[in-house]
């Protein structure tokens, strides 16, 4: 990301660097030792860095949302390579795994809040770094995706998942929780690319729908059309893995709106300022749903309204005490 593309932002941030850095440092020293309610108030002139992804459109959009969420008193500056040698205490918001790794490799002590990352990516770093690293997860929780499938296809009882061998373990908790929602599941292991379609065919024989996890080695632009059409030819729907794949023909996927990510990120930054450590990685509770009405019509599936689906999913999650904290 290169926020200096926006002259307004550059002008606003450039003149304030030195003084804000001191303020942040002072604030940090004050609030860290004790939990002081007074100190939880927004501090005038906070600073965060933003390490962007390689997609400038996404960076611009996130910058705008973060500015809105953090408020006008927080200054967002572009993260520059090498800057952590001078300032390793100001939190850095990293967009995506690459940005996170870039910052992390530069300085392992710098506090980083990773956005747009998966739980499997960030968990290891969180364990190592304690509270100085956290993340706002953006992939839809699998259990929420599965319930969405059940709401759309209420008669569904069997959920099939495709997984590479190294991912099986991470999907097992979801499979174990499906009975709470009147479903059962099975993971079909795809050991190599050549096994994808034969395994998919067996999975389609089992499942009422395919729950697609965000695993780009299985679901990617090269394979998705084939997977979807094979499923649809067998009258099976595919839920997930993300909103983009719904546009590609998947029937539905819940998603975390960027606004929600930005708002939760602002809360995390605030928490960090107050407590000196980030809360553990989490999903924003609010979510949206994308459905492909054309696909539903083609498959003769009567779709409930999006709001009804969301309400129904939320109810089921609440009934089992589930918070989307996978």
């Amino acid at each position: 990301m290169n926020t200096t593309e926006n002259p307004n932002i550059a002008a606003k941030t450039g003149s304030l660097v030195a003084s804000w850095r001191l303020v942040i440092l002072a604030l940090f020293l004050i609030v860290t030792p004790i939990s002081n309610p007074v100190a939880a108030q927004p501090t005038e002139g906070s600073l965060v860095y933003l390490a962007g992804s390689e997609n400038s459109a996404l960076n611009r959009r996130m910058l705008s949302l973060l500015q809105e969420a953090l408020g006008s008193r927080t200054i967002i500056r572009t993260f520059s390579p090498g800057q952590t040698s001078q300032d390793s205490t100001t939190p850095v918001i990293a967009l995506g795994p690459s940005a996170f790794t870039r910052v992390r490799q530069e300085n392992r002590n710098v506090p980083i809040l990773a956005l747009l990352v998966e739980q499997s990516f960030i968990d290891g770093y969180v364990e190592q770094a304690g509270g100085s690293v956290s993340g706002i997860l953006y992939n839809p929780p699998l259990i929420r995706q599965a319930i969405t499938g059940k709401v759309i296809l209420p008669q569904a009882t069997r959920v099939a998942m495709l997984a590479h061998p190294d991912k099986v373990e991470s999907y097992e908790p979801t499979i174990e929780r499906l009975p709470e929602y009147g479903m059962e599941g099975k993971i079909f292991v795809v050991a190599s690319d050549g096994e994808l379609i034969p395994t998919l065919i067996r999975a389609l024989n089992y499942g009422d729908f395919i729950l697609a996890a965000p695993d780009s080695s299985i679901y990617n632009p090269r394979t998705i059309k084939h997977i979807l059409l094979t499923a649809y030819r067998r009258n099976r729907i595919v839920i997930g893995p993300s909103q983009a794949y719904v546009k590609a023909g998947s029937l539905a996927s819940t998603y975390t709106p960027l606004t929600e990510i930005a708002e939760l990120a602002a809360e995390y930054i605030q928490d960090y300022r107050v407590k000196g450590r980030f809360p553990p990685p989490a999903y924003p509770e609010a979510f949206g749903i994308e459905v492909n009405k054309q696909v539903a019509r083609s498959l003769n599936i009567p779709l409930p309204d999006r709001k009804d689906i969301i309400t129904s999913v939320q109810e089921q999650l609440r009934e089992t005490g589930e918070v989307a904290d996978e």
Partner: protein, 731 residues
């Protein structure tokens, strides 16, 4: 159909006052079908962005995507809410879950279709009945190839090159469909769609054994890559047929089984992003047994079994020029080779009487060893038929609400038979077809289609139109009004028979008859014969009002489709075709009216499906007044042999613990000429999904509730419980 009477301004329909100023919206929708609403525009997800900016976001769903909507009815891909006519879809999974053992038996699940067997266990099926022999009023397609026999226009279900395990789905367009497929799509269209090779990658093996000598062995192997997808499949199917037959009150064994092998090769080659090529080929060989008591002619002293030796080649080039324009060019060649030869033995005294024109033909008695110098010769009903079919079909999606499919077709039917045609001949058909789907409002879809074709069997041209209006009452409720007309032209044998038998290998003392033609024209009853009379086309005018609705019930979904029809069938060809009588003529008018229901409800772990049809058929004789009342009524009755008043089915598929799945199905038809048909099937299967492979074991029982033969006294099954065991594995 009364479209204009519909309340166009009714406030019931949202958006009805919206002008069709949709091109811009539609084109945008063509790029991304799921345009977010304005209020949702801010709710974007990171998934719509590409974090690495490497183009790792999947392409948006294309308008021409191959989602299996209803394909058959108009040749456009249409959801049921937009299809101009009731269409039943039977999935391959349902066929297998219900333990259906023969392809033709699938059609008992279709409202209005009846299934039976004639002759030596020759399966027949029809929609809205009519005749039992010579099933000639349905268009049957397999992967786009016309699959009824070219010149006898009959269906040979036993030798269809379609393994049950390869069926993806069967679409049955109920009602005349000549507007899309031309002549023969008179009462309906059956479209059997096999699984594309990319959907069967891997290895699958299955074996089934059961009562009355039933056996089926299936194997397929295939692979898929970016550019080449292929499958080789083999199926062997055999059966001993019915248990016994009756002749003049005496029970005899019945030689009516079959033993058929099919080999299929299916492939798809992606030439580039816009071009791909389907290649298919198949071979069928085997024996279809015919019993000499049933089908033996002229004193046959052995069973005149039919040796089947068919093959087909098919290729189709699919071209996608843009998301909104694509076409295909298809060519197929099918060859049907049937060798049916038998020896005849007629005692000398009887044969001398036959040769004497002044002596009435005696009732033949079988030769005995005591008969000296009988007439001993070989006869045959060999026939080789082929069909060359070319088709170009072009689809333009102007926008999601305006779609046009159009095309050209050409067909050359060739026959070679010494017996039936005294040599070789051809018939040619050419046709132009098209269908326009237009949705001026969200609540209304109009379809207008037609087919013009010319055939050399009558040397005339015919236009078959269809008009339909679908009122989409809400997202999940559609009311259709359909008007259509169709024709069936007589086939080559009905129209131009040159039927004779030439005895071969004639033994002395009658060897002077070697190769002499014995004309059937001279054998048939001259008082009723219409042999050589030129026939006209049959015509049908059909009106349909149908409803399709889907409902969310508590944890289940219900689909309901109801069809009311009122059909007028005119100049129907009725009569007998055999070597003793030739009485066919355009001499019956039929009025058919009734309704049909198809409903399914899916609960968690439970699927229920029910179908019911009520058919009221009235016939009257419209031919020349040269017959007595009995013969006139007989002509009418012949067109009702497969027409039953009540028919239907019920199916229940239940998931059980321990990887078990059970199914129960009940089929009934009330009633055929002799009796009701009532059968209940039960199946229990255990399907285990292990790592890297899956296997299935199953037991199926067919229980005949009504033990009386239905259509003919020969349809005898001694044990009313029939059992089948099955094992399959997939890697």
């Amino acid at each position: 159909m009364s479209v204009t009477n519909y309340p166009v301004k009714s406030p019931v329909f949202p958006g009805n006052d919206r002008l069709p100023s949709r091109p811009v919206v539609a084109i945008l929708a063509g790029v991304l079908f799921t345009l977010p609403m304005a209020s949702e525009a801010q709710e974007e997800d990171a998934g719509v962005y590409d974090l690495a900016a490497l183009g790792n976001v999947p392409e948006a769903f294309n308008m021409d995507s191959s989602i299996p909507e209803v394909l058959t009815t108009t040749r456009l891909r249409q959801p049921k809410s937009r299809v101009p006519g009731t269409t039943t879809i039977i999935t391959g999974d349902m066929i297998r879950d219900l333990g259906i053992m023969k392809l033709v038996e699938v059609f008992r699940l279709v409202p209005g279709m009846t299934v039976n067997a004639v002759g030596s266990n020759q399966p027949v099926t029809s929609y809205h009945g009519t005749v039992h022999y010579e099933q000639r009023r349905l268009q049957v397609l397999v992967d786009g190839r016309t699959s009824y026999r070219p010149n006898l226009s009959d269906m040979d279900w036993n030798s269809m090159p379609v393994p049950l395990d390869l069926i993806e789905r069967i679409e049955i367009s109920r009602g005349p469909n000549s507007a899309a497929y031309g002549i023969n799509a008179f009462l309906g269209t059956i479209n059997i769609i096999t699984r594309p090779p990319e959907d069967t990658a891997g290895i699958e093996l299955r074996g089934i054994s059961g009562s009355r000598g039933y056996g089926r062995a299936f194997g397929s192997v295939g692979d898929t890559s970016e550019t080449y997808k292929w499958r080789l499949a083999y199926e062997k199917r055999k059966s001993d047929g019915f248990d016994e037959q009756e002749d003049d009150g005496v029970i005899y064994p019945f030689h009516d089984g079959y033993d058929i092998n099919t080999f299929n090769y299916d492939s798809n080659i992606a030439l580039n992003n816009n071009y791909d090529l389907d290649l298919r080929a198949g071979v069928v060989d085997g024996v279809d047994e015919e019993d000499s008591r049933k089908n033996g002619k002229f004193g046959a002293n052995e069973h005149p079994d039919i040796i089947v030796d068919d093959y087909y080649l098919q290729t189709r080039l699919n071209v996608t020029t843009s998301e909104r324009h694509f076409y295909h060019v298809q060519a197929s060649f099918q060859n049907y080779d049937r060798r049916q030869r038998w020896t005849v033995c007629i005692p000398q005294d009887q044969f001398i009487d036959i040769l004497d024109p002044d002596v009435p033909t005696p009732d033949l008695r079988p030769c005995t060893p005591e008969d000296a110098n009988p007439f001993l010769a070989n006869l045959n009903e060999d026939i080789e038929e082929s069909r060359l079919e070319l088709e170009i079909q072009d689809t333009i999606l102007f926008n999601p609400d305006l779609k046009l499919v159009s095309g050209l077709g050409y067909r050359k039917d060739t026959y070679r038979s010494e017996t039936f045609f005294n040599g070789r001949g051809n018939n040619y058909q050419s046709r132009v077809f098209g269908n326009l789907e237009y949705s001026p409002f969200r609540w209304l879809t109009l379809n207008s289609g037609g087919n013009w074709e010319k055939t050399t069997t009558t040397d005339e041209g015919y236009f078959s139109p269809r008009l339909a209006a679908n009122f989409i009452l809400s997202n999940n409720h559609t009311l259709r009004f359909v008007y259509s007309r169709a024709v069936r032209t007589p086939d080559a044998f009905e129209q131009n028979p040159d039927w004779s038998y030439r005895p071969r290998n004639v033994a002395p003392p009658f060897d002077f008859l070697e190769g002499e033609r014995v004309l059937v024209e001279n054998l048939v009853d001259p008082t009723t014969s219409t042999f050589g009379k030129e026939l006209e086309e049959e015509r049908i005018t059909s009106r349909e009002i149908s409803y399709f609705g889907q409902y969310y019930l508590d944890s289940s979904t219900l689909s309901l489709e109801v069809r009311y029809f009122n059909d007028q069938l005119r100049d129907m060809i009725s009569g007998i075709i055999n070597e003793e009588q030739w009485t066919i003529d355009n001499n019956v008018a039929l009025d058919q009216e009734g309704f049909e229901v198809e409903a399914s409800v899916d609960f968690p772990g439970t699927s229920l499906r029910v179908s019911y049809a009520y058919l009221d058929q009235d016939g009257r004789y419209t031919g020349a007044d040269d017959r007595d009342a009995g013969d006139k009524q007989y002509a009418i009755d012949l067109l009702g042999r497969l027409s039953v008043r009540h028919s239907g089915s019920f199916a229940w598929i239940q998931d059980l613990p321990f990887d078990l799945t059970s199914s129960a199905a009940f089929y009934f038809a009330d009633e055929f000429r002799r009796s009701h048909f009532e059968r209940a099937d039960f199946r229990l299967a255990r399907r285990v999904f292990a790592s890297g492979y899956s296997y299935e074991l199953a037991l199926t029982m067919q229980h005949y509730l009504d033990r009386d033969p239905t259509l003919s006294p020969d349809n005898t099954i001694k044990d009313h419980n029939q059992f089948f065991v099955e094992a399959g594995v997939r890697f």
